[in-house]
Amino acid sequence: MSEPLLKVDDLRVEFDTRHGRVTALDGVSFDLMPAETLGIVGESGCGKSITALSLMGLIPSPPGHVTGGRIEFEGNDIAAMTKRRQRQMRGHDIAMIFQEPMTSLNPVFTIGDQIAEAILLHQDVSRGEARNRSIELLKTVGMPEAERRARAFPHELSGGMRQRVMIAMAISCRPRILIADEPTTALDVTVQAQIFELMRGIQEEFGVAIMLITHDMGAIAEMADRVAVMYAGRIIEEGDADEILDNPLHPYTRGLIGCIPLLGKEARDDGRPPKLAEIPGVVPPLHLLGQGCSFADRCPLVHDRCHREKPLLTGSTHCVACHATQMEAA
């Protein structure tokens, strides 16, 4: 097996809030292999976006603090690098696209300038050359009339087109890793499909590893090779996408999959689809997390130990952090 491109080990991030300091990421570890797509899935507030931002060194501070863990890119500890090298990595080696294409582009510069800026920052080319390349990139991401659109301002483009611009900017320096934080959540379904297809095409063409942050199991099925499921700041299950989707082990993952109104869950006797599975209650606020398993209060399989002790993520290819499942397996 090849070496992981990115190795994240025991990452901890804390935030200052009015309830005091809370733990937003509690020992998150995972590897990202070259040219694979790792899906990180979870509900809002589970820490999936914070994971992405901490890889980029973009946790807003204050109030955020990275308080522990190690991130290695191609075997080198990022924290040990100079600030300058860290900055060069952003955009050059690791690029990122965001959820809100509406607000993620600077409204006062043309999109051509914004893409060219990324090129000029990391590559030794002339302004004119950067311009031409940005037009090429716009063509690559399927922007019609790329020459003309390069002179457009973000507000003159639709959401889908803006997300294409974001992608063009992200791939401008041929990064090794592309982090996509809910890239299609703000878009209409037909446009979502186009963006996914574009990302798949880019992965095949450039061999980039994608980290896809999403709440959408459908996106996971279509895009991901491997999946990490997050809940309340921890990874609670990890494995191959098919394994997780077809044979989820953690009660939370099972619930999450069961409660999606999927197409094709058709027909009981009265012709209506069956009732959806429910996970009772809500995700606990971070400042109320106790010492036990954070899912214990909502879990159908809960027992005493769950309230006392945090389960660890164990397993070889399909890992899970749940006392009940682990005991069953043992």
């Binding site: 200052d16 809030t17 009772p280 209650g281 809500v282 209060d297 909502r298």
Partner: protein, 292 residues
């Protein structure tokens, strides 16, 4: 249904009480409140309790502060006691400030609320009207009004009110426009609420926080206006006020600094107190800050 929520009994937290708590934790705001209370107490003493006459000549003109026992802040160019002037002159200044602010708020909120709520034609007309008033430099316009219609405290208060309402109107309009489109307003209409109820019971309470802040700040602005007008010789000649004291002693500024400095300081501290309170309210009402 909601399993874990059943365990905790939650007490209702009204948004108003939360704001009050925020305000009480704001040190500059508390300082402003204390300062304003002291000033108001002193002015109250001067207006209603002390029998001293601010026009009485008590000592030699332009006597240095503390030169004699009864003139701790010195005398002015005619030998009148400055401390007495301060205590007596605060009343009119503050009264004009308060009533002008009241006029401002009443006109401003009415115009802004109508423009923002009804929109369209009414909004257009009212906003053009407002824009017209904003074209006139406020102090100059107030000067013209006071000069033409004799300088009494009432005219001055009305003039200040007339020139300063546009800002409140614009703010109110903006708030109404924003809130009007929120779903809870539509929801109120869906359950059968009429225009009156929606304006006064639904939108206004939600628009109030920034309006209260602006009203507070308007008091400060009005006090500054009154001082400016008095300084230009447009104060009510029959009433001692802080601005008037400055204006009267202005020509002798380089002979004696104290007759000008102390009334100015009084105005400064009053406006400072009011604006600290205004800032404190602003922070208290700001939900963004409350999250931290």
């Amino acid at each position: 249904m909601s399993v874990q929520e059943t365990r905790r009994a939650i007490k209702p937290v009204s948004p108003l009480r939360e704001a009050a708590q925020m305000f009480c934790r704001n040190r500059p705001a508390i300082f402003g409140t204390v300062l304003l209370s002291l000033i108001v107490a002193a002015v109250f003493y001067g207006t209603f309790i002390s029998g001293a006459d601010p026009y009485e000549i008590v000592w030699a003109p332009q006597a240095f502060p503390g030169e004699a026992e009864n003139i701790p802040l010195g005398t002015d160019y005619m030998g009148r006691d400055i401390l007495t002037g301060l205590l007596k002159g605060g009343g009119p200044t503050i009264a004009v400030g308060l009533s002008a602010a009241l006029i401002t708020v009443v006109i401003g909120i009415s115009v802004g609320a109508m423009a923002g709520y009804f929109g369209g034609w009414a909004d257009n007309a009212l906003m053009r009207f407002t824009e017209f008033f904003q074209v006139l430099p406020a102090l100059l316009f107030a000067m013209v009004l006071v000069t033409l219609f004799s300088p009494t405290l009432t005219t001055i208060a009305i003039a200040i009110g007339i020139v300063s309402w546009p800002q409140t109107a614009r703010l109110t309009r903006a708030e109404f426009l924003r809130i009007r489109n929120l779903e809870y307003v539509t929801a109120a209409r869906a359950v059968g609420a009429g225009n009156n109820r929606i304006i006064w019971r639904v939108i206004l309470p939600n628009a109030l926080p920034p309006l209260i802040v602006s009203a507070t700040l308007t008091i400060g602005v009005a006090i500054l206006f009154e001082a400016g007008l008095s300084f230009l010789g447009l104060g009510d000649p029959n009433t001692m006020s802080w601005g008037l004291m400055i204006g009267a002693n202005r020509s002798y500024l380089l002979d004696a600094w104290w007759p000008v400095t102390f009334p100015g300081l009084a105005i400064f501290l009053t406006v400072l107190a009011v604006s600290l309170i205004g800032d404190g309210l602003n922070d208290a009402f700001n939900p963004k800050l409350r999250q931290r």
